[in-house]
Symmetry: C3
Subunit: 432 residues, 3 copies
């Protein structure tokens, strides 16, 4: 009778002797078993959490906001990634800029609101004043020889992909992102997200490591637990032609017909349809796919009908299924004919993660006339809460000394690819 597995990778939270040397990350990386979740310390160790911030969030391109949130010059959002805080602002030349939200005087956080609009960027502590271009314009009570020129806000790399604003905190961002952006833009641009309107934003804190949030997102094996979302998904999600159980054959035929129909419509409208999937082969791992929705096939609603009367990009067809995209490490999103919904997971601590959801509609859509806000947001608000309970359950479980990673099913292949991608980032960091 073995009550606790004799597995060296599950001992991080319970050290059997004091004075244990610090976590040996290289050994943990070597010990990884493909096809199974990560070892316990990756989900629970504060040391690895800090490593994740440096190796993943400090080096990758991270989706942080929509251009739709900052339509006018001076509009800004602030975003926190670990201890970093970044101002994303539309400059007077209408370009999107990003600046470290840290005053060059004594380091105070400059802007404290999450969204807003400013003329200049003024630190609330000693009133040091910066332009939206980051330059220090004014600092009071300084001697005549004070040199403002080297005291501008520190820049952060920024790249908008068809309205999806990505930043990179590294000095040298991953060079492959330009290629990813170029390949994704034809999929996104017809929906004109950069001209959309923000209908709603919701932040929730999930009680789990950010990787458990992402692993949960990268599979639909648990989608029985999402009754509102499941209406729109074919019950055969995750099955290949060869594996479909006889009972699900009618549903699978319905899916095949809907998929063929969607492919035809996209062809007529010039919307790219081919699946792109390079999830773990590159630093900017990503995936994009158009997939039909079940029911009426228009939106994430109980009957599948559109919830907003105006269509993104004024496209002439309501039944466009969903354009779903994943970007490593922390993003997923869906673009439908009538609205889009974007998600970004931001790590707070080894066992807490903020998930920010943003709903976008046509810029002219009027709440109460063109769409009902509750109807628009209900499916994903419920789904997020359900996911939060799954993630909390996973965090509690993997924290047990008895936890031992078990086998993924075939339909969890994207979870495996997420883990592979993640571990490659850590290997790169450890090798630095």
């Amino acid at each position: 009778m073995t009550a606790v597995a004799d597995d060296p990778t599950t001992t991080s939270s319970i050290t059997t002797s004091p004075g244990t040397p610090p976590l040996d990350v290289a050994a943990l990386l070597d010990a990884r078993v493909p096809g199974r979740p990560l070892a316990q310390p990756f989900y629970t160790s504060p040391e690895i959490f800090e490593l994740d911030l440096a190796a993943v969030f400090g080096r990758s391109w991270i989706f942080v906001a929509n251009e739709a949130e900052i339509r006018e010059p001076g509009d800004f959002v602030t975003v926190e990634i670990g201890a970093w805080s970044v101002i994303v602002v539309r400059d007077d030349d209408e370009q999107v800029r990003a600046w470290h939200n840290v005053c060059r005087h004594r380091g105070a956080r400059v802007l404290t609101d999450r969204v807003g609009s400013v003329g200049n960027i003024v630190c609330g502590y000693h009133k040091w004043t910066y332009g939206t271009d980051g330059a220090l314009l004014h600092a009071g009570q300084q001697p005549r020889d004070f040199d403002r020129s080297c005291l501008g806000l520190k820049p952060v790399h920024v790249r908008s992909v068809a309205g999806l604003i990505h930043i990179c905190l590294a000095d040298e961002p991953p060079a492959d992102f330009e290629d990813v952006a170029t390949r994704l833009e034809p999929y996104l641009l017809p929906h004109r997200l950069s001209q959309a309107k923000v209908a709603a934003t919701e932040d929730i804190v999930e009680n789990g490591n950010w990787k458990l949030v992402m692993e949960n997102n990268r599979e639909c094996y648990h989608c029985d637990g999402h009754p509102e979302l499941s209406c729109s998904l074919f019950p055969t999600y995750g099955y290949d032609e060869a594996d479909v159980p006889p009972l699900l054959r009618p549903a699978f035929d319905r899916y095949l017909a809907a998929d063929a129909d969607l492919q035809r419509v996209c062809g007529e409208l010039g919307l790219p349809f081919a699946r792109l999937e390079e999830l773990d082969e590159r630093p900017s791992g990503f995936r994009a796919q158009r997939e039909p929705l079940d029911g009426a096939g228009e939106s994430f609603t109980p009957d599948g009908r559109a919830v907003c009367r105006k269509r993104l990009g004024d496209l002439p067809e309501a039944r466009l299924g969903r354009l779903s995209m994943h970007h490593q490490p922390n993003t997923w999103l869906h673009v439908l004919s009538d609205h889009a919904v974007t998600f970004t997971a931001l790590p707070l601590s080894a066992d807490r993660t903020l998930v920010r959801t943003t709903w976008l509609v046509h810029e002219d859509a009027v709440e109460g006339e063109d769409y009902d806000l509750d109807a628009l947001t209900d499916t994903w608000r419920q789904t997020n809460l359900q996911d939060a309970t799954f993630v909390a359950r996973a965090q509690l479980g993997v924290s047990s000394p008895a936890y031992e990673p078990g086998p993924y099913t075939l339909s969890e292949y994207q979870v495996e690819k997420f883990c592979t991608w993640y571990l490659d980032r850590l290997r790169e960091q450890v090798a630095r």
Copy 2:
């Protein structure tokens, strides 16, 4: 004038130089002064807290529940010990089983309720389904060659002692427990606790290290602070014949008479009476004693009268005093003629401990008819809260750099034995 003692054992929370090597537990163990409380780090250090989980809670037999809580097949309780979570369930063959509450798929916590009843044990995440015998019965979307047989829930050792369910998380549990169980059962079995009914359960969180909770429990030198409980205790508690102050002589004579009377009654009823006490001589340190109660001598009530009309085990006598038992590391309990009350202290962090109290009555006793719930639970609910303030006060005090362990009185000998037992467990662990 010496404001702070020059004592190497009191410096853990205030390091005088950075880069201090990790806590030297072996040196702390060597430095222990018998007859005094432990040095500060034992109560405050997160490192030693983790060591306690491994050396004490991960190796000893731990009382976690009453059989009365899981009378029917499928009834379960879950219990958390540090990061471990364990399902204690009555299997279809009516035996009590214990399983790690960790799904063999991706490690999710399987059952999240503290008590309940199930047919099978189904993980709420991806619906992996286990029998109450731990076997994996079903996992969806698996390939044909999927081998369920090695993916059952991991077992935990379990042993019920006359209805008191003990588990052990170690691969090899302490071998001496079988002997302890065998010696305790004759004391407990006549009260038929395994057929009792749970009248109430209460969890409180005390703001102190688990060892301060236990040390507080192991003496009655502070019992002036328990007015409700003190009614039932003779005021001479803690005194020997030789030490009784003249003022307490009448009370001591009353105690001697009650003790002789109780011994006579037990003899007539065949209830074992001899005191058993092996608190620090063995891994499964324990103590059992029948003692008379003051007043009417029947129960923990202001006048000493029974609070429940039906007697545990249908014994023919109400005036049975209390059968009090201690089991290292974390348990105490009292069995009276009309009810029993069990306690288990579960460590949450270096400075927080959960204390779970359970009141048991005869299985046929009806609330409102045979007993009043408030009257049944009042004494120990008040006593627990009083103890919580003592423990919090102790935690605050021993955290000061000025703390220096002082001398125990004679009536605190069980506290000393608790410390000795505990330090032996740490010595064993460090020597591993």
Copy 3:
């Protein structure tokens, strides 16, 4: 484009590789750039927080209470400094004593109220009883040979400076404090603070490192953010004759006239006027200065008029400006003709600090008759809250990996001196 500065001092919270050696404080001390704030770890590292407690709060004289709070024998206050807790009590001989608030039995915190009055000092756990002189008077259930004489409460050094009670937790307090006390007393004694009455005490917790609280206090470059306080301060605060901008010349002339007037009045009343300032040259760094107030010049009110009709020390003049004092590491205070207000900053964790404010008035002043409590306390209650937002903003900002200390202005010279003083204390500690 450099998004994050390549600065070794900003990497503490984000370690780029696991197994990093502990913080190298000596290297951090060597790397300090004069004229700029401290590097990030000084504000965020729990290790340096513990070092601060040992090197600064465990060694310096710390202002903790006013004699006005303990006027009668048996009156006490308790104060927490890190994990220390100290009882400051007026003994039966009317002297102020200080004792570690730790029972010599099992280390319980003896007194748990912040203020109160006792006959003897009785531990609430096992009733060990001490005199206000610290001697152990009684401990129950002890053998005949029990020696109480070596089990008195442990003493803490204490020195009242004209009613301001300072304690020192070190075995050997800084010897220079006697000189500082002797030089400060002539400034303070005429206001008779030891005979004052406590009108109000307020504790707030600021979400920042204690040094950010102090740095914020040591400059008025941010005083635009204090509208209530600014009424009383000349708008030229921080300017020298040579630097006054033309627009502020009339205000500067007003200041010069008020200052000359105050100097004359002080001369007539025999109140010392010369500025004392030895902020970073000695262990007990301090500063004292009388300065005129703008407006009516009497008090911290919108129009500058006195808020209390009775004057401290019964001085014959209302227009006495403010006697402002700073004492390293954690104190500032202002004595006006009609009231005094004292401040002490007590570190709670690397990112939280308690600020205790006490308002004193003449012992015969009656609330509602001689003063309105809201009017008395409003300016500093508002100012404290404003400072709390500044400190929180600073804590958030300096926690960013992008933080880089920027240049102080001339008017921040006391901040620089605070940093210099602080770093000298750390150097002394590291050299020990």
